[in-house]
Amino acid sequence: MSDETPISAQQRLDAVLARIPYVRFLGMRAELAGDEMTAILPFSPHLIGNTSIPALHGGVIGAFLEMTALAQLSVREPHRRQPKTIDVTIEYLRPAKGGLVTYARADLRKVGRRIANVHVEAWQEARASPVAALRGHFMLSTD
C-alpha cells in the first residue's frame, strides 16, 4: 500500500460489482473477510423459476455461481479487466428454495498466466448441503 488513502479490497469489490448492470438485476453482493469472499444473493420474487416448489431458476443459480467466480478472480487480480468465461459445468444438487438467501464461495483451483480454473459452491441454510456447484475455466485479460 502507498501513502495515499488505501482503497480497501471490499470497496474495490463493491465498485467492480456495482458497475455490472446484470449484477444489479440479480441483486447480488459480496463480502470479504480477508481474502475469503462470500457472495450473497438475497431472495427476490423475480428470481423464481419454479412456482410450485417454489425454487429459484436454474439459470439464476448458474449465473450467480459464474458471477461469484468472476468476483473472486477480481479480488485476486484487482487491476485486470473482467475475465471471459470459456466454459462452465453447473451441477444442480437440490432445489434452491424461494424465500431463502443463497450464498456462494469460489475456490481458485489454478490461476495460470492466461487461464484460471475455478470451483464454486452455493448453499442456503447449511453449507454442508449445497444447492449447486460450478466448475469453470476463465480466460484472463492480458491488458
Binding site: P21, Y22, F25, L47, G59, V60, F64, I90, E91, Y92
Partner: protein
C-alpha cells in the same frame, strides 16, 4: 445443431392448445423468464426455440455492452426445459441435473440472443438435451450446451 430432428416416438404435441398454454407458461408464467423478457419462438418434436431481447439492465460488461453470460445461462436452461416438454405428449415435471456451457465467442454489443434446444434422448427417468445460442446466425453460435434433466414425475429429485 441445425439438422432436422427426428420425431421422437409418441412425442408430438400436436394439440395447439397444449403448445399455446405451455408457451405462455414458459414465458410469462415463470417469474424469472418474465423478468428477463424471454420470448417464445416455437416448440415442436423435441425442439424448442426461445429469444431474449437485449436490454441495458442485462449487460454483463459495461465496457462492451454485451448481454451478460448469466442471461445466456438462464435462457439456455429454460430452452432446454422447453425442448424436454416439446418431445412429450403431456406436461412433464423436470429438474436440471447438469448443464455444461461452452462460450465460443462474445455476443455482439447490444444484441439479443436466440437459443435452440433439441431433446435427443429420453429414458424413463432422464432427458438428454443439446442446445446452442446465437445472436444472428444459427451456424455461428455464441454458446453451445449439453444438459441432462431428471424426469421427476411430480416430486423434486
Amino acid at each position: 445443431m441445425t439438422d432436422v430432428p427426428k420425431p421422437l416416438p409418441g412425442a408430438n404435441p400436436a394439440d395447439p392448445m397444449w403448445v399455446g398454454d405451455l408457451a405462455t407458461r414458459m414465458s410469462q408464467g415463470v417469474p424469472q423468464a418474465a423478468a428477463l423478457g424471454l420470448e417464445f419462438v416455437s416448440m415442436q418434436d423435441g425442439v424448442g426455440i426461445l429469444r431474449v431481447p437485449w436490454r441495458a439492465d442485462l449487460v454483463g460488461d459495461p465496457d462492451t455492452e454485451v448481454i451478460a453470460g448469466g442471461v445466456v445461462t438462464s435462457l439456455l436452461d429454460h430452452v432446454c426445459g422447453l425442448a424436454v416438454q416439446a418431445g412429450r405428449s403431456n406436461p412433464t415435471p423436470t429438474a436440471t441435473l447438469d448443464l455444461r456451457i461452452d462460450y465460443l465467442r462474445p455476443a455482439k454489443p447490444r444484441a439479443g440472443i436466440t437459443a435452440r434446444a433439441q431433446c435427443y434422448k429420453y429414458t424413463h427417468t432422464i432427458a438428454f438435451v443439446r442446445a446452442s445460442a446465437y445472436d444472428d446466425d444459427p451456424d455461428d453460435p455464441v454458446a453451445t450446451v449439453q444438459a441432462a434433466f431428471a424426469l421427476t414425475g411430480g416430486a423434486p429429485a
